[in-house]
Every structure is written in C-alpha cells, then in structure tokens.
C-alpha cells in the first residue's frame, strides 16, 4: 500500500512538470475568429519553434480572461472585454501581446441586425435606432463597447436606446426572432443566418461603422516570465498570421481576392470549429499581417470603460500591453 502510494507520488512528481513544460495551453473560442491559431497548430508553425500548443475551448471571451488569471491556461486568444481590464485592475497580471482580430471596413465580423418589419418600415440608419431595444450578450462585452461607440459616432448615446443583456448569442437571436427586441448586435454566422431565415436584416457591419481592435492574444503572468518560450510562441504566431493574411484577407481593386491557400484555410477552420465551409467563406475577420496591435486603441478602450462606469479607474498601458515578445520574434524571423 505504502509502496504503491510512493510510486504514485513519484510518478506524479516526475511526469507532471515535464508534461507542463512542453505543452502551452491556449484558450480559444470555437469561432472563425480563432482561425489564425488553428492555422498555426495545423500547419505546425508553433512546433517549428519548439512550442507545442494545446487548444482549450471556451464558450465566451470573459471566462478565458479568468482562466488566464487563475493560471489554468497560458495563452488566451479572444475579445477584449471590460472583465479583462478589471482583472488587471484587481491586481492580477495578464499581458496583451498581439493582434488577433480587428473590426475593419470591408471585413464582415459583427453586424447590427434589425427586425425585418422595422427595416421594411424605413429603419435604415444608425440614428433610426433611437428609442429601440437592442439585444447583446452581456454588459461589458465587446458588443457593448462597439455598439456604444457606433451610437456615439452618430450623435447618440447608450441612453438613447434600451440595451437588453441576454447572456448568450443564441438567446439574442431568439429574442429578435420572437420580437422581444428590435435589433441585435452579433458576430457571424448569426447575422447571415437571420437574413437567411428571413426574420432579420443586416443594418450595417460593425467594422464599416467603427473600426477597432476587438480581439488580442494574451499571456498569463507565468508564461510571460518564461521569456524564451513566450518569444518562440510569437514566432509561430507571426508566421501563422502572415499565412492567414495572405490566404484570406488580401485585397485587389477594392474587393477581396482569395490567395492561393484560401481553400486550405477554410478547410482548417471548418475542421476546428465544426462549422460549415460555405458559412465560413462569408468572411474572415481582419488582422494585421504581422500580428501587430493597435496599441493606441487599447488606451481608448480603457478610457471608454472608465468613462461609462465599468472600470473603477484607468489603467496605464504599460501595465497591460507588452509588444516586446512579438517585436523580438519578428526581428528573429527576418534573419
């Protein structure tokens, strides 16, 4: 009995650290917007630099930030929410290290979808949303930020509409279908599905109305301290970002021009998300070819959350953004 216990203890002590040392746990959502990570894993870009990522799937953006702070994952790749900034404000360290997706003109990601009847009745612009009930997932989410800024850009405020937090994307879709809300703001594939089923019309794409840094790659405190591996992970990521960019984001004469590896990236995304290729083809979110962040936009986001009472106080950029991992990696790749 004692001997077997001892053996077990030995086994655990010798296998666990070794195991933890080679695998990097990456928290992602099963959405098209995680495509860069999927490409990196599938094409072996991370392995090329001695990093072995293990994908861990989550249901929403905010839990990834929590898991990062709790040390359950090493790397996170998801939306920038008020929760993330509040975690850092609460004394835990999370580093925003690279671009993982932007709302960008010409690239469909998130859309404002209105009820069919309202659209036919003449609701055609953002200013027409005044006084309407708009369904989103949660207050403090990327959708909340995006909608607020779109309204403010059009001379309205969040107080001019009624925000209805419905917790889940599916619930928001159902609420529009059941006419419980007048409009919703959701990412693909929901807007496309709403139009296909005939109960909603896309009023506008978020990226056309207000471009911003919606998603990023984050490092946990522990992973960021392992400088060499952290930089190596970025080397793989930058390579994946270039591959992704050239395959699906390239533009020619004002329209999207699929690159030579377009079908391959669609197939990889379909494999990892379980989505249908024809829906994935509708659009990939934009991101920088080298994975560089819009650092100034992060400061803008923090200011906005503070101004609207979702963060107690502002956070200096140096406490939450660290682009040196990526810059070092990019330099190494040039050699």
């Amino acid at each position: 009995m004692i001997r077997s216990l001892l053996a077990l203890v030995l086994l655990v002590t010798f296998t666990l650290p070794a195991h933890a040392a080679d695998k990097v746990k990456v928290g992602v959502l099963k959405l098209t917007s995680s495509a860069t990570l999927f490409v990196g894993v599938e094409k072996g870009f991370f392995k090329e630099f001695g990093v072995e990522p293990e994908l861990v799937y989550f249901q929403a953006a905010a839990p990834i930030a929590t898991a990062l702070a709790a040390g359950q994952v090493d790397v996170g790749a998801t939306g920038l929410t008020a929760a993330l900034y509040n975690i850092v404000l609460g004394g835990e360290k999370i580093w925003v290290v690279a671009d993982k997706g932007r709302e960008w003109p010409g690239y469909p990601l998130t859309a404002i979808v209105v009820q069919n009847e309202l659209y036919d009745g003449g609701l055609r612009g953002v200013t027409d949303l005044k006084g309407k009930r708009i369904g989103i997932t949660q207050l403090g989410s990327t959708f909340h930020y995006h909608l607020g800024n779109v309204l403010e850009k059009h001379g309205l405020t969040l107080n001019d509409v009624k925000i209805v937090p419905l917790q889940a994307m599916g619930a928001a879709m159902e609420a529009l279908k059941g006419k419980q809300v007048d409009a919703i703001m959701l990412p693909q594939p929901f807007p496309g599905t709403a139009e296909a089923q005939g109960f909603g019309r896309i009023l506008a794409w978020g990226g056309d109305l207000f471009p911003w840094q919606i998603a990023a790659v984050f490092y946990s405190k522990k992973f960021a301290a392992e400088r060499e591996r952290a930089v190596n992970f970025m080397k793989g990521y930058a390579k994946a970002a270039r591959y992704y960019h050239d395959a699906v984001l390239a533009q020619k004469d004002g329209g999207r021009a699929p690159g030579p590896n377009y079908d391959e990236v669609v197939a990889i995304t379909a494999k990892y998300t379980g989505g249908k290729p024809e829906i994935i083809r509708i659009g990939f979110p934009y991101q920088d070819r080298n994975g560089r962040l819009l650092t100034a936009d992060i400061a803008k986001q923090i200011d906005w959350w503070v101004k609207h009472g979702f963060m107690k106080s502002a956070l200096p950029l140096s406490e939450v953004v660290d682009t040196r991992f990526l810059e070092t990696a990019l330099k190494a790749l040039e050699k």
């Binding site: 905010a62 930030a65 509040n86 004394g91 835990e92 949660q138 937090p165 917790q167 419980q180």
Partner: protein, 264 residues
C-alpha cells in the same frame, strides 16, 4: 431528613444557549477570511476581503446603487409573492373544501408541482414579454405551489369535532370556512409562506439574470461578467440579508396572526 446529593444524569441532554459561541463563530470566520486575503494566499480578485466588501458596500450605498437594486428586487419579490400567495391560498381552500374542486385540482397540482419553475422562465418570457411581468409571474408560480398544497393540507386537517361543533351552533358554510377551517390551517399556511419565501428568492435571482438592468440578481451577474468580484460579494451579502429579513418578518407576522399559539 437529610438531602442526598444526587448526580443529575440527564445533564448532558440539556441544550443550553451559547450566545458567545454564536458571535465567535461568525467573527472567527470573518477574521480568518480577512487574514487569508491579507497574507495573500488567495488573490483578492478571487476572494475579496470582508473589509473590502464592506468598503465597496458603503460606496454603493452612498452612490445610491444599492438602493436602486434592492428597490427593484423588492418590488418584484413583493408583487410575485403577494400574487402567488393569494392565488395559492384561495386554490388551497377551494380544493380542501369543495369535493369537485378537489377532484379537479389535486391531479393538476400533482402534475405541475414537480416542474422546476426556472424551466418555465423561457416560456413565460415568450408569453409575457421580456419585461417585468414574466419576472413577477415566475416568482408567483414558485410561491403558488407550496401555498396551495399547504393550505389544502391545513384545511383537510381541521379538527372534525370543531367543525361539527360550529355547525351544531348554527354556523353556515362560509362561517365554518372563515371561523374554523382557515384559522386551523394558519400554521400550515405559514409553513407554506416560509417555503415560498425561499423559492421566491431563488427564482428572483434567476429571473433577474435575463434582460434586466436593475435588481440584486443583475448586480451579481453583471459584477461577475465584469470580474468586479468585490461588487459581486456585496450582491451575495445583500441576498443573504434579504433572506434573513424575509424570515424575520414572516416570524413577526405569524406571531400576530396566530396569537393563540404559545410555542414560539
């Protein structure tokens, strides 16, 4: 005659009050909790310190945030509770007194009672809309069943001797219900109210997690979404206080309503 000193061998059975231990238990937990947070064994983000929670609570009282959330929750709670209890008591009396109502009522109640009321929330939202009505309705439903079942049992358990005596003294149907059956069912009705109060609090939090902008349930969920854990704890403390308050006020009400009972 000499007195013999006899050892009281039932002494270990005496259950004494330990007022100091009560206070010590609560204070002790709070102190250990605060220490944990101070030493830094548990990050404050995951387990906010009691003093931090108090400070946050004070800030929220000053800003009026707490008053706003508590008022919204209390309104839903009181309305749902009143509607559910009134309906439950009326149905309980009817089913307990009239044989046709009993024949119709018991199988219907037996079939619908076991449904977890939270499961009906999506349906209620579909029927009554996303606004206040669906929230009040789900609380009313949760309160209705324990009230109806307890009232029914209470009415059925009324002493037949008392009923016969009342009839012998010339009481008519309504007098018997009002003067004999209802009072004798009162202890059961109050037991039902207590059960209902617990259920109501549970359903309140669940209902306030969908499409609202105020209320304690919203406060808890929203603070969790934003990872403002101290605020979240304030919400949990408020819920605990609300539970204690409803228990206390039901006790007071019971003492007034059943003044002839001596055992409490």
């Amino acid at each position: 005659m000499t007195r013999l000193a006899v050892e009281d061998r039932t002494r270990f059975l005496i259950r004494r009050d330990h007022p100091w231990w009560r206070v010590l238990a609560v204070v002790g937990i709070l102190v250990v909790w605060e220490l944990f947070a101070r030493i830094g064994w548990v990050p404050v983000l995951f387990l906010p310190s009691p003093i931090g929670v108090l400070r946050e609570g004070a800030d929220m009282i000053v800003s009026g945030e707490i008053a706003m959330h508590v008022a919204a929750s209390l309104r839903r709670l009181v309305l749902g509770f009143a509607v559910g209890a009134a309906l439950g008591i009326s149905v309980g009396i009817a089913v307990g007194f009239f044989s046709i109502a009993e024949a119709v009522g018991t199988p219907v109640i037996a079939a619908t009672f076991p449904i977890p009321k939270i499961a009906l929330l999506p349906l209620l939202i579909l029927w009554l809309g996303i606004g206040e009505a669906s929230k009040v309705a789900v609380i009313a439903l949760g309160v209705f069943f324990p009230m109806a079942i307890n009232t029914y049992t209470g009415v059925r358990q009324a002493d037949p001797l008392l009923v016969r005596a009342a009839v012998a003294f010339g009481a008519r149907r309504w007098s018997v219900i009002r003067k004999v059956m209802l009072p004798s069912a009162l202890p059961m009705i109050f037991a039902g109210l207590r059960l209902g109060a617990g259920t109501a609090l549970l359903l309140l939090v669940a209902a306030e997690m969908i499409a609202v902008e105020s209320g304690i349930g919203f406060l808890v969920l929203h603070a969790g979404n934003l990872m403002q854990t101290t605020k979240l704890m304030v919400g949990i403390v408020l819920l605990s206080l609300l539970g204690v308050l409803s228990h206390w006020s039901l006790n007071r009400l019971e003492r007034v309503a059943i003044s002839w009972r001596q055992d409490h």
